[in-house]
Symmetry: C2
Subunit: 198 residues, 2 copies
């Protein structure tokens, strides 16, 4: 399997985390978004929409959208429950991540870290929605070890990617002990070194 | 099954379309978003996040997120392919819909239709991303009958909901014959009367 991704992008790291955790063999092709490498003719032949991450299977078929990819890689493994309703509860978090978390938490991080915007220049609606998303996580993780299915799953991997980088987008994590506990637990599962706010 | 939804919301209509197409019995509980009925104490007991659509199964378990719901309802039916990779290609469209289509096409429609914003007052970035999303659909549907798996699937239902209402958000469909043909085909599958731009 070929994985095309940018290691600065949480969406791409989700795929790396999942493949590594499952011990899947792959070749990582670095695509630097900031250098517009996702818009080159060569890359557009892999994904005409010019987005990373994307995977290419050995038979040449390609799949885009981070959460579609990790759900596919996780099929028939301990990262995705077998019960249909429990799978749907994982999906509920995956769709929530793309609609209510990523466009706020990840975009604020992008603006501060890569566009060098001061914290005060973030768009107010994104900040408010991002804070709300992190509150939703805190509320759930205060009473639950994992996001879904009482086990570490692709729902945790999808939400971990940008939540552990949220401080780079100006979001404070010190007031969210449930989320911090869960980040450390996910990092232990994935064998990651902590990068979160001190 | 109980479905809580607002018939003005494409996200809720996806669930109605899917349940009706599959002949699933349900009770529809109307929740008027504009009257803040998704924020009442009674509704927050069903979905603490105050979002529609949400379904409640006969055993009391609940599921939110439109695309998670329709994917769950469609399991083991002709609306979701059985092959794992073909399922993943359906998921690719479902996640794309929530990230790249709904926040632009549906939000512009909401602003014009319900907040009575003039077309010229829509946010420029939403208009541009919405046009690009509709172009992506046109490009695909020019050469393909359906979005995924060479068959009518929940990917089509998810994208149909707001695409057939896109003209209410100021998007022109006359220049997109592939999308128009596909909208009519989906409406035929679902037994819907056309509402699209004349």
């Amino acid at each position: 399997m070929q994985i095309y991704g940018d290691e600065q992008s949480g969406n791409c790291l989700k795929v790396q985390y999942t493949a590594d955790h499952l011990g899947l063999p792959y070749t990582w092709h670095p695509v630097d978004i900031m250098k517009n490498e996702s818009r080159t003719a060569a890359f557009l032949r892999v994904n005409p929409h010019g987005q990373v991450p994307v995977i290419k299977l050995d038979d040449g078929r390609t799949l885009a959208q981070s959460n579609a990819i990790i759900r596919y890689l996780a099929r028939d493994t301990q990262l995705l429950p077998t019960d249909a309703f429990e799978q749907a509860k994982v999906d509920e978090w995956l769709f929530w991540e793309q609609y209510s978390h990523e466009p706020c938490v990840a975009v604020c991080r992008f603006q501060m870290r890569y566009e060098h915007k001061p914290k005060g220049d973030r768009e107010q609606w994104r900040v408010e929605r991002g804070e709300r998303a992190l509150d939703t996580l805190e509320q759930h993780l205060n009473g639950n070890q994992w996001l879904a299915a009482d086990a570490f799953s692709v729902a945790d991997i999808a939400l971990l990617a940008y939540t552990r980088l949220a401080h780079e987008g100006g979001f404070e994590m010190v007031t969210r002990p449930g989320v911090q506990r869960w980040i450390r637990a996910c990092e232990t599962e994935l064998g990651l070194t902590g990068v979160q706010e001190k």
